[in-house]
Amino acid sequence: MKKLLVSIILVNLLAACASQKPIEPEAAAPEPAPVVEAPAPAAAPAPVVEVDPLNDPNSTLAKRSVYYPFDVSAVQDADKPVVQAHATYLSEHPNRTVRLEGNADERGSNEYNLGLGQRRANGVKQMLLLGGAKASQIETVSYGEEKPRAAGHNEAAWSQNRRTDIKY
């Protein structure tokens, strides 16, 4: 009885194997891909792709320079919203760090201008701290008059060089 059972099982297995004989791939046109109809997903919210506001050219954060009148180091009213925007950004993104580079026009000794650039950068730092940034996120340096953006003994050049740059 057992022998018959085994035989029947074996025959069935053989038949199964036979029916599962691998099909020789045909050089002819491939079979049409099976159309799978997946059930439509439930109305889930579209995935959110985070756009870093730093990369938005229309954002206030796109402004990365603060300008000054001659011999002045305090942030001017016109630039306060810019500095505040960066302060807010830094407080919301504690992993972000920023380097403030202070500059001056050429109308002083090179060393005095180095000090003036540093005082300008420090002033921006103070405002960032008041606006919620952490000191560990901010580095301040000065280039004095050594890296002017514009050359020339005139106010058009000087006004461009009296500046603190905010660099991420």
């Binding site: 000794s109 060393e111 000090g115 540093q118 280039y143």
Partner: protein, 421 residues
Amino acid sequence: MLLRVLQSLAGSLFLLHVSMASAELSIEIIGAGENQIPVAIVPFGGDAKLALAIKDVVVSDFLRSGLFRMIDAEGKSPHEIAEVSYPDWQARGAEALVIGSVAVQSNGRIEARFRLLDVVKQTELAGQAVSASEGQVRAVGHRIADLIYEKLTGDKGVFSTRIAYVNREGQHFRLVVADSDGYNEQTVLSQNQPIMSPAWSPDGSHLAYVSFETGHAVVYIQSLYTNQRKLLAGFSGTNSAPAWAPNGKQLAIVLTRDGSSQIYLIRPDGSDVRRITFSGEIDTEPNFSPDGQYLLFLSDRGGSPQIYRMPAKGGPAERMTFGEGANFSPRHSPDGKGFVFNHRVSGKFYIALQDFQTGQMELLTEGGWEKKPSFAPNGKLIMFASEARERGILATISSDGRVKQRMFTRSGDAREPVWGP
């Protein structure tokens, strides 16, 4: 070396305009001293090539000083006193005559002997041997020029001194040390980041300077013999304005590590940092007095950049400059009696002098983009940064304002000059 001499009379003033090209500096001389001493130099006997080289150096040194008028020595070649015919030189208008001999020793050393003769009194004013190692013929010439200069003017010569400056070409910066006539140029640092404020150690062996190579201003001290350098100060923020004490054992520098630019003392190895100003504003450009007791410095604590003086070890500061305008970059005169500085008024920069006793400011230049004055070691010449032909140049002016030089580097802008010891 090309020597082109133009003379023009302007009223009763002789305007001597001389141009000469050296290895890297093209030098123009304008003006003349109140009394120009007529001197004749006979090429030395012995090694003809060395003799000509020595004469060239002495002549160009004398012309650069503006204090001498060269008398032609053509056709005469006395090398010993016995060979000198004084009437010949009196006829040519000379008041002083230089003769001598030069030879190369078996060990390669150059040995020269010279005599300085008073043509009018027919006496010897000086006679000396000067020697140097092989290849140092310019040093021999400068030394002889120094000795003659001292004998005839009463002041120490500075022909054997060196200068340091920064040459900028586009984004490329080079810190250069050279003889004061531009020869024997040595590049101390070459990079694409700014270099500022070179400062000579009192013995001339080291240069402190500010470099931006790490992204912010830090101070290095570099040996001019080995080219090895060490970071003196690299605190966060700005490290700058190094100034050596006359005994070479400490420096004053400016750090912003505590907020604003303040003055600190520091040892040459970077240790023992002590803060000595506490204004909370911008205090910078410290400069030691020759006796090491005082510092002159720039501060805007009073509302505008002005010059102050304080004890070098710390203490209350006394304001030195008043009146209209702003004042920067003070440097003591070598005799300690006054200082040179930069005066800015109505948009122009001037080189100015002030005597400690009178407190009176005297403008030395006509005004323009003139910055960073420093004295030659004899206190008779001042070098500063200026502009001409739309380039940054080095300029010198005699302390009486009469003799001026403009020095053009081969290309680029020369800036941040400082006279060495």
